[in-house]
Amino acid sequence: MLNEAKEVCPTTTLRMSREGALLVDVRERDEIDSLAFDVPDLLVMPMSEFEQRCAELPRDRDLVMVCRVGERSLKATYYLMYQGYTRVANMEGGIAKWARKGFPVEGNASAAIASAETGCCGGAAPAKNNGGESPSAAGENCCAPQPKRAGGCC
């Protein structure tokens, strides 16, 4: 049995990205055309191509898997763990949570936030943000890498 996947929040992901981690976006290309992560190092590898292309991913660098709400990216995280990758984590909440926190994106963030609310994860209305990319001080405290919590679709 595989170990529990490491999960990181958007705040930690932003920090890791600035420190050299590679974000791997597994959404399909039409989703990414609407809204994309705006980070220094990003690789697009849609789930439809993932099994065929995953060998392109480096094993000697931190990888953070991302998608819309964190479900597909969790599956991709486990797949990489199955393939022997050790420096891989899933970003919980997906670009929906990332955008809600006001972190850097290109495209229409409000659509992603709205669609996440009507998905399986439901959730409260998004907190208002005034843009900008600084992680909140409160957010920093919650964000140590941790095993996946059991239960729930998110």
Binding site: M1, L74, Y78, Y79, M81, Y82
Partner: protein, 80 residues
């Protein structure tokens, strides 16, 4: 014969289970059929496309509902 059907509970997974039960009964083959629905457990077999079918620890199918002919071959092969 231990058969595991991997999948998070979608219609294709349920269909696969029902089909295996039907074929096993029709062929008179005793099977121990289990559902594996938890993502971590599914991915421990390296199966990205579900439903997946594992027979005696080996992945024999991944993605879509297997055809009846294919299921019969699995059951007959194990009987031999």
């Amino acid at each position: 014969m231990d058969i595991k059907v991997l999948g998070t509970g979608c219609a294709n997974c349920r269909t696969t289970i029902a089909l295996i039960e039907q074929v096993a009964q029709a062929k008179g083959v005793a099977v121990n059929l289990q559902k594996v629905e938890e993502l971590r457990a599914i991915m421990s077999y390296g199966v990205m496309s579900t439903p997946g079918v594992v027979i005696d620890g080996k992945v024999v199918h991944a993605g879509g509902v297997p055809g009846r002919d294919k299921i019969e071959q699995w059951l007959i092969a194990k009987q031999a």
